[in-house]
């Protein structure tokens, strides 16, 4: 076997095509392009929403019209034309299915190609899936098991109809309509998403999971996720996405809100693998996501993310540590290749006493990509004994990529203890030499090192997801992860 060097790896990364690029032909019902009040109303009507929801959307739309697209992030891209996007698209076969057999076989085949066959998932993983294909959920499994525990897990449009009191109480409390440009847009036009409520003292027996797919040409996806963990409950939520190969840029502006009431714990894991564009940087998904969680007393929110896709990522899963003794965690691996750009990180806002936060961020840049960590740790004056530990490490492959860190640290309390460290390095020749010397060939050595580099974060993923995450890392950095 010829020697596998870093140059080979780089070469491979350059030429590696998106493996999951295919397009399922399902007849879709798509709205005309453009955005105005009528479209917002039409979306709301289509989804048979109550008046308060329509009002809420219109309010958001009004705010959005006044806002301008932010440009402070360390990314460059052609700004999308918001009037050239169709804001609603749903698979045509509308009726809901009780069992998986009723689902459009073509759809099932799509999932099979992704290696996430529902059947298999059902049997092996015990994962309930709220499958979202182009904005409307078409299959929900394990609903009954969950129902026995009193857990509500359904699409948000169903929740608006069936549990309006819960949705009305919590939607927009963590990410208000006017929070930012994309959150406002999402609030106005969100087509679907997931809703999850864990009642008091219930420990959710399985990992809840949603797979998102962007499918129709030219339709932006505006997902809205709302997870509420009532007092003393626990839930682990998985979100993963793969998108078919497309030449025009697709916009994805999701909002995720997590509410952890007293003593509750939410673990939210994401594997993101939207289409990153081809080797020339053409095409790819724009991923502008607002994710935020609020922790009441003794609550804990943990974000874990593996970001391998998207042409442009703009994403800061955050925690507002409002209650005393609450805990926020953020574990992230961001891999960028070719012309991908990622500006991602977290915000930890310490308001309560004895609050703790941990940030572990690992960035791997290859090709001509730019990878930025942007984080904020804020200790407010009443947050006694707040504790933060941040670590952001970057690994660079090749000299055409860039790694950037923008950590903001603001402390207003003298009892705060904050540590921040960041390093940037490449795979050391001495490390490879060490492995070679012990009979491990270079390819395996690189795999070992990258794996070790990301281990801290991979370890935090639920077991079911870790396999998928490994797979995605493999696709993004083929040959480097064993």
């Amino acid at each position: 076997m010829s020697k596998y060097t870093e140059d080979d790896l780089r070469e491979e990364l350059k030429t590696k095509e998106y493996e999951y690029g295919f397009y399922t032909d399902i007849e879709s019902e798509t709205f005309p392009v453009g955005l105005n009040e009528d479209i917002v109303k039409a979306i709301s009507k289509k989804k048979e929403e109550p008046d308060w929801m329509t009002e809420w959307r219109l309010e958001a739309f009004k705010v959005w019209k006044e806002m301008t697209e932010p440009d402070w992030a360390n990314v460059q891209y052609q700004k999308p034309d918001f009037q050239a996007i169709s804001y609603y698209s749903a698979p045509n076969s509308k009726p809901k299915y009780d069992s998986i057999d009723e689902v459009d076989p073509e759809l099932l085949a799509t999932f099979e190609k992704l290696g996430i066959s529902l059947d298999e998932q059902k049997k092996l993983a015990g994962v309930a899936m709220d499958v979202v294909v182009d904005s409307v959920s078409v299959a929900t499994t394990f609903k009954k098991t969950l129902a026995e525990k009193g857990i509500i897990f359904m699409s948000i449009s169903e929740a608006i109809k069936e549990h309006p009191e819960l949705v009305k109480k919590y939607i927009g409390t963590v990410v208000p309509q006017k929070d930012n440009f994309y959150a406002a847009l999402n609030s106005a036009v969100f087509s679907d998403g997931s809703f999850c409520y864990i009642p008091k003292g219930v420990r959710c027996p399985m990992e809840l999971s949603t797979y998102f797919r962007i499918n129709q040409a030219g339709t932006g996806q505006f997902e809205r996720t709302l997870v509420i963990a009532d007092e003393g409950s626990y839930v682990s939520y998985l979100e993963g996405c793969t998108a078919p190969s497309r030449d025009e840029n697709q916009l994805h502006a999701a909002v995720v809100e997590l509410i952890a009431l007293e003593d509750a714990e939410i673990k939210y894991s994401t594997v993101q693998n939207w289409y990153p564009g081809n080797a020339e940087g053409k095409g790819g998904v724009f991923n502008f996501v607002t994710k935020r969680g609020i922790c009441e007393k003794n609550a804990k929110i943990s974000w874990t993310q593996v970001e391998t896709g998207s042409a442009v990522t703009w994403k800061y899963p955050s925690c507002i540590l409002k209650g005393d003794n609450s805990v926020g965690e953020f574990y992230s691996i961001a891999v960028t290749n070719n012309y991908q750009q990622a500006d991602t990180g977290t915000k930890m806002v310490h308001l309560g006493k004895n609050t703790k936060s941990t940030i572990i961020s690992k960035g791997i840049s290859a090709g001509k990509s730019q990878n930025s960590y942007r984080g904020l740790v804020q200790i407010n004056s009443r947050a006694e004994n707040a504790r933060n530990f941040s670590q952001c490490d970057s690994l660079l492959m090749g000299n055409e990529c860039g790694a950037h860190t923008f950590p903001y640290i603001e402390a207003k309390n003298k009892t705060a203890q904050i540590e921040h460290e960041a390093t940037t390095s490449k795979i050391g020749e001495d490390q490879i030499f060490y492995c070679n010397q012990r009979g491990i060939d270079t390819e395996k050595a690189i795999a070992l090192i990258v794996n070790g580099f990301s281990k801290d974060v991979l370890n935090k993923l639920p077991m079911e997801f870790a396999v998928e995450a490994q797979k995605l890392l493999e696709i993004s950095l083929e040959g480097s992860v064993g």
Binding site: N399, H404, Y408, H420, A422, S425
Partner: protein, 437 residues
């Protein structure tokens, strides 16, 4: 009339006092235009996110101070590092004070910017170096527009300047409020070595706003050792813009000791234009009351095999606010760069706050870059250890704080400065110990 308008309109009056036909004046005219378009920085700008100039700018500063002042050496002796022999360039209210100064043209040039700008024998240096690295940014441009006076230091090849150079700017308070804009140029040629001490001091409590620009050029294998002592009264505001351009194998060190002043903003920028360069910037900040100190550093690694070290320590009491914004940029060509940055802070009071943003922008793969940043408290067990050995609480606290900032002092090459800083720290912490326990 706000300060910006006042400055822009004073520019015409300023033109009467300088040679408008020199090429320098074209630079000035350009610069005032830049300032007019950009204005003073506001909190909306990323680099000024945590520092507001609003309170400072509302005074009615006089831009051209009166001429007369009567300061004797004995009045101001304590502000000098007087126990060493040194060259001295002293300004009072922006005017050169010859009776306090000691300049030289013997082999090296330690003199005034005004004469360097006027005399033909300095023309080559001025043409090659003046305003070559100060960027087109509002405050630097404002200084450039009014640049007329300051220190001019040129050390030719192969000279080891045997004694340090002290630059002190006094303000007398004869004016109700005064704005000063000193402009310094330091050129150190091949293999030469120089040590410089800079200080700004006001003698009364009338507000002073100093917007200073210093350009330093360290050519091949030159060594520049620069100390900034900032222990002014709490009526004084200092905006210090320092730009260091380094050539191959040169070594430049800037130590900044910030204890006094109402608001201090240090813009310290290093540009590494050559291989095997070493840049060091270190600082101790100990402030209280409502003081505000903002360190904004930049190291631009342009070529391979260079190093940079940053080490800033801060202790913040009362309602003081501290800002640290350290930026390291490593260009694609700058392989084998070693960049190290540390910022450690202690908050002593509930009202004090610290904002820090250690920022890395890296485009090269074979580099070692790290930054660390901490905010914390004094170690309680160390406190207990000292107390159990009979050291009173205040002194014990002071000892620990001194130990905390001590490794910045380790690299100070002039013992007298070290002593002076030690004394200032003891004073600042309200204890009467020499720390040589």
């Amino acid at each position: 009339m706000d300060l910006k308008e006042k400055l822009v309109s004073s520019f015409m009056a300023f033109e009467d006092t300088v040679d408008v036909h020199s090429p320098i004046h074209d630079i000035r005219t350009e610069a005032i235009k830049t300032f007019e378009t950009q204005g003073f920085p506001t909190k909306k700008q990323e680099a000024w996110k945590y520092t507001s100039l609003n309170a400072v700018l509302k005074h009615d500063y006089s831009v051209f101070p009166k001429l007369d002042n009567d300061i004797e050496f004995k009045d101001v002796k304590k502000y000098f590092i007087h126990d060493i022999d040194a060259y001295k360039i002293i300004f009072i209210d922006g005017k050169y004070a010859s009776h306090l100064s000691q300049t030289t043209h013997d082999g090296i040039d330690v003199c005034l910017m005004s004469s360097a700008l006027a005399k033909p024998k300095y023309r080559l240096i001025i043409e090659n170096y003046f305003n070559k690295i100060a960027p087109n940014e509002s405050l630097s441009a404002l200084n450039t527009a009014f640049s007329a006076e300051g220190a001019y230091i040129h050390i030719p090849k192969n000279k080891l300047v045997e004694k340090p150079i002290q630059i002190i700017h006094f303000s007398t308070g004869n004016e109700a409020a005064l704005m000063l804009q000193p402009r310094n140029l330091v050129v150190v040629d091949e293999n030469s070595h120089v040590q410089i001490i800079e200080r700004h001091q006001s003698l009364t409590d009338n507000p002073v706003l100093t917007n200073s620009v210093t350009e330093i050029f360290a050519n091949k294998r030159a060594i520049v050792d620069y100390y900034k002592i900032q222990n002014d009264r709490q009526s004084a505001t200092l905006i210090d813009n320092t730009y260091v351009n380094q050539k191959q194998e040169s070594l430049a060190k800037v130590h900044t000791f910030s204890f006094g002043g109402k608001l201090i903003r240090n813009n310290l920028n290093f540009y590494q234009n050559g291989e095997r360069i070493d840049s060091t910037m270190k600082g101790i900040t100990i402030i209280g009351d409502k003081q505000h100190v903002d360190h904004n550093t930049l190291v631009h690694h342009i070529e391979p095999n260079c190093e940079s070290h940053q080490d800033y320590k801060g202790i913040f009491g009362d309602r003081a606010t501290g800002v640290f914004n350290g930026k390291v940029v490593v260009e694609k060509e700058a392989q084998k760069t070693n960049a190290f940055q540390a910022n450690n802070n202690i908050l002593v009071s509930d009202k004090a706050s610290i904002n820090t943003k250690p920022q890395l922008e890296i485009f090269a793969d074979d580099v070692k870059c790290s930054h660390g940043c901490t905010i914390g408290q004094l170690d309680e067990s160390a406190m207990f250890y000292l107390r159990s050995r009979g050291i009173p609480e205040k002194e014990a606290r002071a000892l620990l704080m001194f130990a905390f900032s001590n490794n910045v002092l380790d690299s100070v090459k002039i013992p007298e400065i070290k002593n002076r800083i030690t004394k200032i720290i003891a004073n600042k912490l309200g204890v009467n110990i020499g720390f040589e326990l």
